[in-house]
Amino acid sequence: MALVVNGAEVATDEEGYLEDLSVWTPEIADAMAKEEDVDLSDEHWDIINFLREYYEEYQIAPAVRVLTKAVGKKLGKDKGNSKYLYSLFPYGPGKQACKYAGLPKPTGCV
């Protein structure tokens, strides 16, 4: 599967995750979101940026439970709950947000 961003093809796997994590750009995230009829807001970007920092530091995509707790700590308790995260990423904060962030599918993601 391939996504076309600014006229260039970007390789993704059958579930839409980037084949090569190093090619990620914010425009790719926008293009992935558009395919799913999502307009990325600042609130989406808070989570996407958080995931990218987490991956940079630990080399893994966090499990949803870990993401929820860590977001609560970093962005405030009102955001550290699954209701808030699912309102932003209805297909599952782990799967959908990690995909936009250019990360692999979270380990142990169900």
Binding site: E57, Y58, Q59, I60, V66, A70, K73, G108
Partner: protein, 134 residues
């Protein structure tokens, strides 16, 4: 689901075989199911959490920083066998300072690595309900 005591025993060097990485991935999956998870590092397994790992020359992903994420998964009991360190000329200072944050104490950082003697390790292993050996 009842909580069980899961122990993952790591005896092999981090690179060269897939055991260390596979073990770490299984640990992260099991921890997502909120089990009580401990890790043991014995024999060459102690190198898995050694400081300053560099895989540039061998074309493998350096996954050592992932051990620092274990605290987020509430995995904060990393038992390291003292004799295994000594036999390799290593001390506690050669290991990564892996920490966890205690939510109940305002996220106070606490060490996850616990160095235990061979005899203590035997007792710890005997207490487990499920043991995986990697």
């Amino acid at each position: 689901m009842a909580t069980k005591k899961f122990m993952y025993v790591n005896r092999k060097a981090p690179y060269g075989t897939v055991y260390a990485l596979e073990s770490l991935e299984v640990v992260l999956i099991a921890a997502a199911f909120e089990q009580e998870v401990s890790l043991a590092f014995i024999d060459d397994g102690v190198y898995q959490i050694a400081k300053g790992q560099n895989t540039d020359g061998i074309g493998m992903k350096n996954f050592s920083s992932t051990y620092n994420a274990l605290g987020d998964y509430e995995v904060n009991k990393l038992y390291v066998e003292k004799e295994s360190l000594e036999e390799r000329g290593l001390t506690a200072d050669d290991l990564m300072p892996i920490m966890w944050e205690d939510e109940d104490e305002d996220w106070a950082e606490k060490p996850s690595v616990r160095i235990v003697s061979r005899a203590e390790m035997a007792d710890i292993l005997a207490e487990q309900e499920v043991t995986y050996s990697f």
